[in-house]
Symmetry: C2
Subunit: 460 residues, 2 copies
């Protein structure tokens, strides 16, 4: 049986991993071609050299590469012509939201530009096989498959004098960076839908070859808008619950309450397990924009109302690092210029090296503007690309004489390898800002308690 | 050993049940006196006659009465002098929020009056034993024990020339109406705190005799404000998550999406289990006001900011029944006056007869103003006190010729005893409004699908 050809459009954080997963399915079913723009030549080059373009600690990535190398079934290219070869095109490109300045009411100005996404879909529709399956995995404004992808295909197929035999579906990934990167594609529940039954059946058949659907059954929804909505609702739920806790964080600080112990007590109730804890802020590519995609869709695709709570959640979360920054500035109210401050952890999640929209960024930028002497440390991020800043080694981190330490990301290693304890031991007295409430009691016990400023803890 | 005397202040929904639970602990430890105001003579009379003042299907209530009758250790009174007998006073009185009119920005005008609560505490402090334990179970603005109860006791004890040997604690109940009423006190996790260690120890010792703390361990928090905050945060979390889904309900309707299936798919993720579903609105005594108590406390006890998201959640939930009402008025846009409409279920929760702040109320009131002919049915509510309205029997419900049926409360019995099916069968065609998405597919299958208007389902 001839192998089918799967083209993955977009070789970013999701697409690169998805391409490898498709190339290394248990049975040798697919030839896989990853496509990205000529501007991404470096990524394409890396993938063709067997090197993953995203830093990851997941050992399964090299297993996938090894499988693909043996099968000789994976390559990356910037040649858009390969869509003509595809039986299946998996769309993993970004659809970005551009944010403007927040006004005093915390309303977020933002815009969604569909043009690059539409162009990418057109590049498929203009050359693809008549019966291609297009599986959109991108997070898009709900309604995109029906109101954008399908019309683009219909127009292109009319121009090409082809019958409308294409199939279009949507299924969203729940990829998480970190050590379970590949498994977050292979071994997780998937939601999907098609623009018609034929499309939905084709998506189902394809996903069954990629994902462990026996342990993680697929969920088919009634239409593609529902699948698109599920993705942005998941992330909006999360974003909104984080935003909600921010006002309680400030309340707890004013009322001398340890909000962490309060929330631990509340989580005893199964109906309240998902209540969030205080933190520095929200980062990554999803929670910071998906609620806006939803609100945009409601207004511009369906002529309905905006989603004020969802929009507001993004604005509150974007402003959240300002709260910890305020605690820092308050501590150094006699003057912060010239103070030497160590930031431990710059990624937006613990235990991974992902700095996309990290909430450490606004803190870093403000402290830099205030002429502090900043030292950065992150075992997962040797170089912080967005800020063009190098992080230091453990030895360098230990050598400093600091006025303050900020726990930017609560990497477990900080509490396990003795680094934090040694820094604290070498620097008495200094102020320790822990917006995650993550530093274990055992480490704090050996140090003056008033040194610790923990967000959401008015009691310390 | 002489039995200790426990006085329960307030014999409402919580206090009446708490008094019975304390009187019927496994070991015969306590004499229990329930106290309420002279205006509650009817409740007091009922309790003394062995009759529970709140309608409930829980068989354990009569078991408790039977135990107390055998022990002869329970009585109710309006005599405030009995506080002088108490070793423990459990405070279970209400602390109400008065709501004003919502303005166009959905800001809720509200006021919290502490005076009645302060008076009630004073009535204890002015006569109590020197070493009394006062256990506040009322939901109060966080800070109340430290900023109100303790000062009232200190003032009274100064006037009485007594040393400050009183103990004050806070522990909140999580009482739920329905068949597990008594167990929701006895068999559930409790959070507590004291104004000092001695008070916290006394609360702990008392609760251990009342609650099954082996299966449901107690959680001690750092101070009473934390315990008070935990209660209002629990309910604010819930209120806010219900409010959040309302904007998605409207989005789903506009976008032809079945939000129920979307949410079922999202709930597959453990981190998203607590996402709520569409509904008619929010009722009961807690979620409708507790977020306001929190915001009031932040501003007036601690001079900090209001909690805008929590306040907004109450306003959105209060307005929520207007959405289903809108669907009804939209359906009868040719004129609704004179239409005969059956409301099935008027309580605020399924399977219980609790009409406090039920979201059915604003729908009922608006339809009454619109001169519809309304028939009410609820197997758990023979008489709707707040609206002074009688509900009809099954036979009467079946006999009507209706233009519409509104499922006000999704009591399971409606789907099990054939009543709903028979009403649908007797009345073709009619419109069925199901704001809970609760009517099973099996019942809907036998009936024209366009008859059903399901909140949050644009796809029907």
């Amino acid at each position: 049986m001839k192998k089918k050809t799967v083209v993955v459009q977009g070789l970013g954080f999701v697409g690169a991993a998805m391409a490898l997963v498709v190339a290394s399915t248990r049975d040798d079913l697919y030839d896989v071609i990853g496509v990205d723009l000529p501007s991404k030549a470096a990524v394409i080059g890396k993938l063709n050299a067997g090197e993953f373009p995203v830093r990851s600690s997941d050992p399964k990535i090299s297993e996938c590469f090894e499988t693909a190398r043996k099968r000789n079934n994976f390559r990356a290219t910037s040649d858009q012509g390969v869509y003509a070869l595809a039986d299946v095109v998996v769309v993993d490109i970004n659809l970005d939201v551009r944010k403007g300045v927040r006004d005093e009411h915390l309303d977020t100005n933002y815009s969604v530009t569909l043009d690059p996404f539409r162009e990418a879909i057109r590049s498929i529709a203009s050359v693809c096989k008549q019966d291609v399956l297009v599986l959109v995995e991108s997070t898009v404004p709900p309604g995109t498959c029906k109101k954008l992808v399908q019309p683009v295909f219909e127009e292109a197929f009319r121009n090409r004098n082809l019958p409308f035999d294409f199939k279009i579906g949507h299924s969203y990934e729940r990829v998480m960076p970190g050590p379970g990167y590949i498994d977050s594609i292979r071994n997780f529940y998937r939601v999907y839908a098609g623009i018609d039954d034929k499309s939905a059946d084709a998506v189902e058949a394809f996903l069954k070859t990629i994902i462990s659907t026996y342990e993680f059954p697929l969920t088919r929804l009634g239409n593609t808008t529902a699948s698109e909505m599920a993705k942005v609702l998941e992330n909006s739920f999360r974003a909104m619950n984080i935003a909600f806790i921010q006002e309680w964080t400030e309340f707890a600080e004013a009322a001398d309450v340890n909000l962490f112990e309060v929330i631990d007590a509340i989580r005893m109730r199964p109906t309240h397990k998902n209540i969030m804890k205080p933190g520095l802020g929200v980062g990554g590519y999803c929670l910071t924009k998906d609620p806006l995609l939803a609100s945009w869709s409601s207004q511009h695709f369906f002529g309905a109302k905006k989603l004020p709570q969802s929009e507001r959640a993004v604005a509150i979360n974007d402003a959240m690092p300002g709260h910890t920054l305020g605690l820092i500035l308050q501590h150094f109210r006699e003057g912060i210029a010239g103070k030497k401050i160590l930031i431990l952890g710059i990624s937006y999640l613990p235990d991974v090296g992902d700095t996309r929209s990290t909430p450490v960024e606004p803190v870093f930028a403000a402290l830099q503007d205030s002429k502090t002497r900043l030292i950065l440390h992150d075992p997962y991020v040797p170089y912080w690309e967005e800020q063009r800043a190098k992080t230091c080694s453990d030895e360098e981190a230990l050598a400093g004489d600091y006025d303050a330490v900020i726990l930017g990301a609560a990497h477990k290693s900080y509490f396990q390898d003795g680094l934090l304890e040694n820094i604290l031991g070498n620097n008495k007295p200094l102020a320790v800002f822990d917006p995650h409430g993550a530093i274990p009691d055992a480490i704090r016990a050996g140090y003056p308690q008033h040194a610790f400023k923990i967000t959401g803890r008015g009691d310390v």
